[in-house]
Amino acid sequence: MEYQLSDRQNKDLLERMLMMRRFEETVAATAEDHFFGHYHLYIGQEATGAAVIEALGTDDLILTTHRNHGHIIGRGADPGPTLAEILGRADGFNGGRGGTLHLTSRDQGFLSTSAVVGGGIGLAVGAGYALKRAAGTAISVAFFGDGALEEGTAYESLNLASLWSLPVLFVCENNSLGAPGASAGEYPSSVNAAKDLIDIPRSVGIAAQSVDGADAGAVYAIAATAVAAIRAGQGPAFIEAKTVRWPGSRPIWPELATGITNLAAATDGALISGQHAAWINEHDPVLARVRCLIEDNILLPAEIDEIDRRVIGTMEAAKSMALASPLPEPESALEGVFT
């Protein structure tokens, strides 16, 4: 069975991607004048997150990583409290206690963001354990980077999920291939001797596939197939989405090196210029998606523009909300260690 996006889903998915992109642009713009810890933008990986999320249901549970903004926004969390959290404000999802590294939106099914590389994978297996015991059809999803596969807990967790046939979807966003960050001092990741990362889950009997993470349709087809199999009780599945990590992380390379996205450039390549032009042209999954929707006559440029304008408006409102939110009361730091 081949899963294809319906028109409605195509629109949804584009909106998710634009929400992700415009949110990160807002983060980068806000960061210039306001305190942030370090953060890691999701730019360049939108097609993967949006397509996987499109394949999920509302009861599914998600565990994500330091590069979590896209997942949370793409899943439909209100960007206001999301940005407020990143800014450490009282009205942030975590009341300012988590920040970008631990951003959690329980209402959207997020249980935790672990900033420990690989930390969320085992938690997702645990969520799968609980869901399997509950005997419903919900599944859990772990998003993680290629670097997480260097951690032994990732491997242990894969083995355990496989042994107990838990309903877990493992989504590895391999953003190291061609990532320009290394030269700017970013962490080396994908320091893995595996020729093919999917050989790792396969070695412990987990069905695994690689996909071009910039191709939302392809990711959706694979994710929807995997989700259906998991819901049918076939045990965990693993997807490696090959994406390209964009700059825009703080403090390592805080510039929004590729500028504010101009959707018109999807159809008019001449609008892309500057040092990173080739890279934007080749890799930008948002432009690629827009291009494809127009070419396939799924959406008109004007319809896309309308979505984008709405998204941009949402972000402006979110920014206002977040900046209007107060910082938490200092003494409240002592509260809430225990329930």
Partner: protein
């Protein structure tokens, strides 16, 4: 009330919780280690066949599984076996379980229980004899339970499972076979309420876990020498009932703190220091700690005995502070 072993009381407590609440499941069935009493676990296996499972030797993933399941609303009881192996899951305990509630701004709670067997067991050597409670005490966000009697373990294990917080229950292999009166039926013992195991006026002894037994032995010897000691068992170190301890020290003016862990940054150090801070004016003598010295645990019996807390060492310490 019936006279049963510590091991049976523990399993009874756990069985009671499993009977009441489907969300409680057991991950890891070596709850009583390699104790000859291990077959008590068969009752859980029979009555809750689909709720007890043996995981691979993957402490980190196993702990994460417990934590993630708890985040999703389950109430897993995760057995780690020998406490030394919790170190394999240290990041899961310290970085995930302990922080999640606070750092999510209260959105998430983590009602997981981690169970393990600590301490000198006789020939365990350097890698099977740890008492990790001292290190865990330095990690905010974990409730830490150190039972010392059959009646206590039954009620404390129940409270641990009912608690919505991540809770570490640390038993001692040498407690398992101890028999004593245990109330029938289900009951919980609230956390943070110390138990005055023996009343006395000349000196206060604070001890936890198996060392409570040793302290009681020492108290008996001391009483024959005319020294009357009060033996306090905090039962949980997080939360810690400082009030009971301070009230006792106010009465006796003298404090000896006992701990199975090694000296530096031990539970004894913390309790002693808290008294030095909050009960200083009551003190009539230096506080003395009786703990393992700061050496890895050696294998050979005479070496292991030499470093172990025993009644003789406690007697000597009490005699020193009451001199």
């Amino acid at each position: 009330m019936s006279k049963i072993t510590y091991a049976k009381a523990l399993i009874d407590g756990l069985h009671g919780c499993m009977s009441e609440d489907d969300r409680v499941s057991v991950i890891g069935s070596y709850i009583l280690g390699l104790s000859p009493l291990n077959n008590l676990v068969d009752r859980l296996r029979e009555d809750f066949e689909d709720r007890i499972s043996d995981p691979p030797i993957s402490e980190a993933a196993v702990a994460a599984t417990g934590i993630g399941a708890a985040m999703a609303g389950d109430r897993p009881f995760v057995d780690i076996g020998t406490a030394s192996f919790i170190f394999e899951a240290w990041s899961q305990i310290v970085n995930e379980a302990a922080n999640a509630h606070y750092m999510s701004g209260g959105q998430i709670s983590v009602p997981v229980v981690f169970h393990m067997l600590h301490g000198l067991r006789g020939g365990g050597g350097a890698q099977h004899s740890h008492s990790p409670q001292a290190m865990l005490f330095n990690c905010p966000g974990l409730e830490i339970v150190l039972p010392s009697s059959p009646a206590d373990v039954k009620g404390l294990i129940r409270q641990a499972i009912l608690s919505d917080n991540p809770t570490i229950v640390i038993d001692h292999a040498k407690l398992l076979a101890i028999e004593d009166d245990v109330p029938d039926g289900n009951y919980e013992i609230p956390f943070g309420q110390a138990n005055i195991r023996r009343a006395g006026g000349d000196a206060t002894i604070v001890a936890t876990s198996f060392t409570v037994q040793t302290a009681l032995e020492a108290a008996e010897i001391l009483s024959k020498r005319g020294i009357s000691v009060e033996v306090i068992d905090p039962r949980t170190i997080v939360p810690l009932d400082m009030e009971t301890i301070l009230a006792s020290v106010e009465k006796t003016g003298r404090l000896v703190v006992i701990d199975e862990a090694n000296l530096r940054c031990s539970v004894a150090s913390e309790i002693g220091m808290s008294v030095a801070e909050q009960g200083f004016s009551s003190l009539k003598a230096p506080i003395i700690r009786v703990t393992r010295p700061d050496v890895p645990v050696p294998f050979s019996p005479p070496l292991e005995s030499y470093i172990a807390v025993d009644a003789g060492k406690i007697v000597k310490a009490v005699e020193t502070v009451t001199e």
